[in-house]
């Protein structure tokens, strides 16, 4: 097991008869970034707190870099786990300057000049000017606070970085840029990262490994592409993005549906099933005459969203209307006949 940096086995936790985590298993490879994604209250923050040591597990173990730090019998105190932790709001100490915040965790024998140099270096790592060291946390914007919190956590060169919804307190524009900056920075420093978030886009964009959590269990763990393209169940599929589900009949790896014959990714038994597609897999093109043909429908409503447009299309036959999202240049008008083509393969759920 020397290759895993964090090894979580059979972790369980209850709060006053309310089970928050059921038997969680998770492995993190050194230098990788893993995102645990789930809706609020699913237990993802509890998982992070168990790893950080702020709570103790009822069952299971946590092993960091080969050292078991938590089990129901024995727990290593949080300050002896050599990990970095960045809370949702950054949790900067309001009574200390930015520099003092960053220097907080540095070993005490360090001399003043050494500390100053290290603080400046860390500020530069998070793309902040050295002059920020003398500021107070309340003088910083939300994004800057978050970066200082990260610099403070990095100061101790942790083997594992835990981020608890680190971008959720930021407004939309800032969130994307801070996320990008932090992802780059963590990749450069090579520190293994575990991040929890309720934002699927964030999870998919930042992580090498995504674990989708629901009611204290992982529904699926895999690469972003895997969990998005090959969801294990309907919850995972719907949680990670919009879905189009169609009833179909599977025969020899081909699903026969209202949109025609679509290849199924996984091995499934023949028979009736539900086919799951992503909206971006559908392309609607205007056809002059295609009445009665398979895969041709009528646009019954359009919704202009700026960059994109949503087309509600009534396919021929008794299938329910479909929503197709595509860019808004030269969209089909209402009542136009469109042919719906499917790009790529689909996933079939029983």
């Amino acid at each position: 097991m020397t290759t895993t940096l964090l090894d979580v086995k059979g972790l369980a936790k209850s709060f006053s008869r309310n089970t928050v985590l059921h038997h969680i298993d998770l492995d993190l490879q050194p230098g990788s970034t893993t995102a645990v994604v789930g809706s609020s209250g699913c237990g993802k923050t509890t998982l992070l707190r168990l790893i950080a040591g702020f709570e103790n597990p009822d069952a299971g173990t946590v092993t960091i870099a080969g050292r078991q730090v938590a089990s129901p019998e024995r727990a290593v105190a949080p300050h002896r786990r050599s990990l970095g932790y960045v809370a949702q709001d950054g949790a900067l100490f309001p009574h200390l300057t930015v520099g003092q915040n960053i220097a907080y965790g540095l070993p005490s024998p360090a001399r003043g000049a050494q500390v100053r140099a290290r603080v400046t270096e860390l500020l530069e790592t998070v793309s902040l000017d050295g002059s920020y060291a003398s500021r107070r946390p309340h003088q910083l914007s939300g994004g800057q606070q978050q970066r200082v919190a990260l610099a403070r956590a990095l100061a101790r060169k942790p083997v594992l970085m835990l981020l608890d919804e680190p971008f959720s307190a930021l407004d939309t524009g800032l969130r994307a840029s801070t996320r990008k900056a932090v992802a780059g920075l963590l990749a450069d420093s090579g520190v293994t990262t575990l991040l929890v978030t309720h934002d699927q886009e964030e999870a998919l964009s930042i992580a090498d490994q995504v674990a989708v959590m629901r009611d204290g269990r992982f529904t699926q763990v895999g690469s972003p592409q895997q969990v998005y393209r090959q969801p294990a169940d309907r919850f995972t599929a719907e949680f990670l993005g919009d879905c189009i589900s169609l009833s179909c009949t599977v025969a020899a790896g081909i699903a026969d549906s209202a949109l025609g014959r679509i290849r199924v990714q996984q091995r499934v038994a023949d028979g009736p099933a539900t086919l799951i597609l992503r909206p971006e897999q559908l392309v609607a093109t205007v056809v002059s005459d295609g009445e009665g043909l398979n895969g041709v429908g009528t646009v019954i409503a359009t919704e202009f969203l700026g960059h994109d447009i949503l087309l509600t299309i009534d396919p021929a036959g008794d299938a329910a209307p479909l929503v197709v999202r595509q860019h808004s240049l030269n969209p089909p008008a209402i009542d136009a006949k469109v042919r719906i083509e499917v790009v790529g393969t689909g996933v079939v759920l029983e």
């Binding site: 040591g53 105190a77 786990r81 100490f93 009574h95 907080y104 403070r152």
Partner: protein, 524 residues
């Protein structure tokens, strides 16, 4: 006497999030303190049992007790409503109307808290020497204690969402209707809390009533103690007094019911539009000026008049210096020790849940209502029977102060602690600091202002404390309040004046702290 501010506004602070089990040292300290707070109650129960029911019955059911009961109940029943009317009226005038000079009046009506009630009594006797009995007691304590009503009501008025009142206006109520149908019901908790505080002070007050020859239970217990020392009659009177306190507590709790302070939604509530007083402005100014003269003018004028009459002879600087030194010494010891001990108690109350936390809440609630005379009597009895060398030692009197004034420190330390986000402590732990280093570097640092406010409240409470000090102070102790008391008991009012002045001056900064706290609470 300066007492804890706004009991319910800062009271039970519930936290969501994880609760931690206290360590053995914290748990033991808290358990000992909680056990100690039950000494007074235990003493009362024990003496009732040891005297025997027949004798206890004889001691309780007699004309003297009936007279005391009548006096005490009448005092509470008259004074508390008077304080409600004055406190709410003043608060409404300075917070909700366009009265000119509100910025001047607002802190002025907190200032009576800097004048101990017994100094106020002394002042009124100086003006009307024949003053005595129930109405004298009502006059003096109303003027001394109405700020306990004014402070929480003013703070609540500032917090009320004006949109609710505007809706009432839009629904057809005039300003009087809005006040009685919308504003007053929202002030209920503040009024109940202030009323409880005033009631508790009325039951505990000794000096102010003794000086105007008005006998309440506390006065009678003190006199009994001077006659029979550790007598059965005194402890039975204490028992009845404790019962009265419990009646007040239960009454307040049941009137409060399940109501809690309504949270104001996110965002900064708009300031209320001041209500124009129109022609009534002159009446209002006159009323406020009259109140200020009665509550502040009279004591200041009397003290200054006696100082003028006494001339330089009353300034016996050696005695005053010694008394000041002793008072500051005792008050500092008590303030520091109480505040230090308040930390584990507050920590348990804020950060953990379970039996100990509930006991802490309950014990704090009950002891904050127990008169000093009962605690003092209990400690006298316990030390004489269990540890005689402790009797009249500095350790015992400081211990008594800790028991008496812990709630004042606790209210502040707990509020301060509740405002330190757990996430900051967790951040510190994840940055390699041990739990104790985290406490010193983060928690203590951020709680320091609240702890300082709590310590200063205890400090002033000790300087103006009279009953427990008279009963428990080591022989030869001469604090400011003891000397003031002995001079004014000997009717040497001029000699007492310098001590009254020093006591008032010592209390002024803390009164300002109280005022600042109540305005800050409103801004939150």
């Amino acid at each position: 006497m300066v007492a804890p501010p706004i009991p319910h506004a800062t009271a039970p602070v519930t936290r969501s999030g994880p609760t931690t089990r206290p360590g053995p040292l914290v748990a033991a300290t808290v358990a000992i303190l909680v056990a100690a707070t039950f000494i007074p109650l235990g003493y009362v129960a024990w003496s009732a049992v040891s005297i025997g029911w027949t004798r206890a019955f004889e001691l309780i059911v007699r004309p003297r007790v009936g007279e005391l009961l009548l006096n005490t109940v009448a005092l509470v029943v008259i004074t508390v409503p008077l304080c409600v009317v004055i406190g709410v009226g003043v608060a409404w005038l300075v917070e909700r109307t366009d009265l000119p000079g509100r910025a001047f009046w607002r802190p002025l009506f907190v200032a009576p808290l800097a004048v101990p009630a017994f100094v106020n009594s002394y002042a009124w006797i100086g003006v009307i020497p024949s003053l005595h009995g129930l109405w004298a007691g009502v006059l003096v304590t109303t003027l001394s204690y109405f700020p306990f009503m004014y402070l929480p009501v003013a703070a609540t008025l500032r917090r009320l969402d004006p949109a609710v009142e505007e809706s009432a206006r839009a629904l057809g109520s005039d300003s009087t209707g809005v006040f009685f149908r919308v504003v007053l019901p929202q002030l209920r908790l503040a009024i109940l809390g202030g009323g409880l505080l005033i009631g508790v002070h009325l039951l505990a007050e000794f000096g102010a009533f003794a000086m105007v020859r008005f006998d309440t239970f506390t006065v009678a217990i003190f006199q009994q103690f001077q006659v029979t020392f550790d007598g059965a009659a005194g402890s039975m009177l204490a028992g009845v007094l404790v019962l009265l306190c419990l009646v007040l507590l239960v009454g307040e709790a049941s009137a409060r019911g399940q109501a809690r302070f309504a949270r104001i939604g996110a965002g900064v509530p708009r300031a209320a539009t001041p209500i124009p007083l129109g022609r009534n402005v002159i009446t209002a100014q006159a009323a406020l000026a009259a109140l200020a003269v009665l509550a502040l003018g009279v004591p200041l004028w009397t003290i200054l008049r006696w100082l003028w009459i006494g001339g330089s002879d009353v300034w016996v600087l050696d005695d005053i210096g010694t008394a000041l030194g002793q008072t500051i010494g005792l008050a500092t010891m008590a303030a520091v020790l109480t505040t230090v001990l308040a930390f584990p108690v507050a920590w348990v109350a804020v950060r953990s849940s379970g039996f100990l936390a509930r006991m802490v809440e309950g014990a704090n609630y009950v002891t904050s209502a127990l008169p000093g005379i009962v605690t003092a009597l209990a400690l006298v009895t316990v030390t004489i029977r269990v540890a005689p060398p402790l009797y009249q030692s500095v350790a015992l009197i400081v211990f008594a102060y800790v028991l008496l004034f812990m709630p004042r420190a606790l209210v502040n330390v707990r509020a301060g602690l509740a405002q330190v986000p757990i996430s900051l402590e967790e951040a510190s732990r994840s940055l390699g600091s041990s739990p104790s280093a985290t406490f010193l570097r983060v928690t203590l640092r951020l709680t320091a202002p609240a702890a300082a406010a709590g310590a200063s409240l205890v400090f002033v409470a000790v300087t103006t404390e009279l009953t427990a000090t008279l009963l428990l102070a080591p022989t030869g102790t001469r604090t400011l309040s003891m000397l003031f008391w002995s001079f004014s008991s000997e009717l040497d009012y001029a000699a007492a004046a310098p001590y009254a002045l020093v006591l008032v001056v010592l209390a002024i900064p803390v009164t300002l702290v109280l005022f600042r706290q109540s305005t800050k609470a409103a801004a939150l």
